[in-house]
């Protein structure tokens, strides 16, 4: 499950989207503060979301996401907590008649990863839109138009390259990795070998779900201390479509990226050079944003 809309029975409406990020954030909070995790079972979701401790310690974000420089905003800075709260309080959704472009804008401008499609008449959730699904639609409809796509993605400026690429090493602990991902607003990071800088794999947010199968909450939190190489060597049996490593080179054209996506439906591609070192990352978001022509406005 990627995202689940939250329904408030007293307000009789959808109030939020529960995603794996929230799960991660909770775990990080409990680890950092060493609070009693067993209380997690009894607290309601609203309770947790409005807990300012959590908001202030764990949900500090690096804003804006990409490009430019920005200081890390901390709890002392007034806007941050409110923006975090508002992130949870305003429930953005689309209904079936929303245009694709409008939906993309909603996703992009609000830095969302999931956009639920809700029928307002009977409050039915029809689907959740992600960048990957939008890309899927673009690919199936526009694959045939070769002529537009003969430039390489590097030349087109799609993706994040060189110094902006954030990577982690396999010896880091899960907690560190999650922190990095949170601070930079990433949904996945490439894992590289420390010495050779070769790509070993990709660790994505949804890979965390196996932690939920831990027998109790303390174990789950303890798992955060494991190092990545231990985790990645575990066979994933719970999820049938794990985020696998998909790579491409700097010379790949947009057309070839489309073809590759049509076959593999990746969420992101790691751009590597001849020696398998990480050069950049091209994500579904980048590709969609290219077509939406909204690069640079985060």
């Amino acid at each position: 499950m990627q995202a689940a809309p939250l329904w408030d029975p007293t307000a009789c409406q959808f109030v939020g989207l529960l995603t794996v990020t929230d799960f991660i954030d909770i775990l990080r909070y409990y680890r950092r503060t060493n609070a009693d995790v067993s209380t997690l079972a009894t607290r309601s979701i609203t309770d947790i979301l409005s807990d300012t401790n959590i908001l202030n310690t764990v949900l500090v974000r690096h804003i804006p996401r990409r490009g430019g420089t920005a200081g890390v905003t901390t709890a002392s800075n007034a806007p941050t907590p409110t923006s975090n709260i508002s992130h949870h309080c305003t429930f953005l959704s689309a209904d079936a008649n929303t245009t694709l472009k409008h939906a993309c804008r909603l996703l992009h401008r609000n830095s969302l990863d999931f956009l639920p499609v809700i029928l307002p008449d009977d409050m039915r959730v029809l689907a959740t839109i992600t960048y990957t699904t939008i890309l899927e639609h673009l690919v199936t409809n526009f694959r045939e138009q070769r002529r537009l796509f003969d430039d390489t993605v590097y030349d087109l400026g799609i993706g994040t390259y060189h110094d902006n690429v954030i990577t982690v090493t396999s010896s880091q602990s899960l907690a560190d990795v999650l922190h990095t991902m949170h601070v930079n607003g990433l949904s996945a990071v490439p894992v590289v070998d420390e010495k050779t800088k070769k790509i070993l794999g990709v660790y994505s947010r949804s890979d965390i779900t196996f932690l939920a199968t831990a027998s109790d909450a303390e174990d789950a939190v303890a798992n955060l201390d494991l190092s990545l190489d231990v985790l990645m060597s575990q066979r994933r049996t719970d999820v049938t479509t794990p985020d696998a490593l998909h790579t491409c080179t700097v010379g790949h054209t947009l057309q070839s990226i489309f073809e590759y996506f049509a076959q593999w439906k990746f969420n992101r591609l790691i751009v590597v050079d001849d020696e398998e070192r990480v050069v950049g990352v091209v994500s579904a978001r980048d590709l969609v944003a290219y077509f939406l022509d909204e690069r640079g406005t985060s």
């Binding site: 329904w7 029928l119 039915r124 959730v125 029809l126 689907a127 999820v239 049938t240 479509t241």
Partner: protein
């Protein structure tokens, strides 16, 4: 199909018709098959089919019917001779009555017989109507067919469902609605077979052919003919389509209880305009004093329909009603798509549901204080299955 046999045994009939083995069975009607040659066949054959082989065009069909009738009349006299042959078992007697019944079919006019639309070919040629009723009159059997209703000018047809619920592998139906001319395959659903036909108003007889055996449905009304053969019977003369409005309810109540809802009470209620049962009842009892016709309402209102044609009563259900099993779950609803393991390529894709399972709420046993509900709904051309996780209060 062209080569119908001329020898006595009828094994040839293309539709796999078998002559009735039991005494009570009807004769097999011929279906399909070449036209011309079978005509000759019929003229000789004893196992006659009341059925006229439907092959060819409409013209041939009708002509066959005419011949058929004549033959029947002839054979009626000479039935004894036809018993020889594979049918044994006093089969001779078995066939003729079928012929007798034929007139119901033949007696009607073309549109009536072909009304089933069995043969799209222009059977409904009014010029082909023969002097059916004359024939019918002479050979009427115990079925009190009301020819007057048949001859009514109204084109009203009543769509009727015929059901066979007693098993079998292949079930056909035939009856006066198609002139006993053709065996119509019934549609199978599980162990039940159904067939829908627009019947002209009036009474109709019909019978089923189950795995090549003529049978009548014991759970449906039957009628016996002179020879003792039993056919099923349905009367759609008084059928009224459901219109779903107030007038329908009133008439239905009137038909069932032999009375209309009390007009004086309705008038009174309309005047007082008091909503709610209690208030209106009070008003009614008030109006009892002047000795209006409304007097019996409160006393015997138990089982009379009220203004809307609804009935309320104090009857307690019998004790065995409490121990009865609830109605069984239709088997279609057992195919819960959420229970099937997901495909590996896309965990969000479920198999396409049967449309009968839509809008049904499925739930799991409550575990860890959480109830999980699932429902599949349709949105335009796609199906969306939503799973709700809801905590239960202790």
């Amino acid at each position: 199909m062209g080569n119908a046999q001329t020898n006595g045994s009828s094994a040839v009939l293309p539709s796999g018709q078998q002559p009735p083995r039991q005494g009570g069975g009807g004769s097999a009607g011929a279906i399909g098959g070449g036209g011309g040659q079978q005509q000759q066949h019929y003229s000789h054959a004893h196992h006659n089919q009341r059925g006229v082989p439907q092959g060819g065009g409409s013209g041939s069909h009708l002509q066959q019917q005419q011949q058929q009738k004549q033959q029947q009349q002839q054979q009626h006299g000479g039935m004894g001779g036809y018993d020889a042959g594979p049918y044994g078992k006093g089969g001779g007697g078995g066939y003729l009555p079928q012929q007798q019944q034929n007139p119901y079919a033949a007696g009607g006019r073309n549109p009536y017989e072909m009304g089933g639309g069995m043969d799209a070919s222009s059977m409904n040629d009014p010029s082909q109507q023969q002097g059916g009723p004359a024939g019918a009159g002479t050979e009427s059997s115990s079925i009190p067919l009301d020819m007057a209703t048949l001859s009514a000018a109204d084109d009203d047809t009543v769509p009727t469902v015929f059901r066979w619920e007693h098993g079998g592998r292949q079930v056909y139906i035939t009856g006066t609605f198609n002139g006993w001319s053709r065996q119509i395959p019934m549609h199978r659903s599980g162990n039940d077979f159904t067939y829908i036909h627009n019947l002209k108003r009036g009474k109709h007889a019909f019978k089923f052919i189950v795995d090549d055996e003529w049978r009548f449905a014991p759970d449906q009304p039957t009628v016996a003919d002179i020879e003792g053969r039993i056919n099923n019977f349905i009367d759609v003369t008084d059928f009224k389509a459901y219109t779903g409005d107030r007038d329908f309810e009133k008439e239905k109540a009137a038909a069932e209880y032999g009375c209309y809802p009390d007009p004086s009470t309705t008038d009174h209620e309309q005047k007082s305009g008091v909503p709610g049962d209690d208030a209106s009842k009070a008003n009614r009892t008030d109006s009892d004093a002047p000795g209006s016709v409304a007097a019996p309402v409160s006393a015997s209102s138990a089982n009379k329909p009220d203004r809307d044609g609804e009935i309320f009563s104090h009857n307690m259900p019998d004790l065995d009603e409490y121990t009865k099993e609830p109605p069984p779950l239709p088997p279609h609803l057992r195919h819960i798509i959420l229970n099937k393991p997901p495909q590996l390529q896309d965990t969000a894709a479920l198999p396409v549901p049967q449309h009968v399972a839509l809008n049904h709420l499925y739930c799991t046993a409550i575990k860890d204080n959480m109830m999980v509900l699932g429902i599949t709904q349709r949105f335009k051309t796609k199906f969306v299955t939503t799973v709700y996780y809801s905590p239960c209060k202790n």
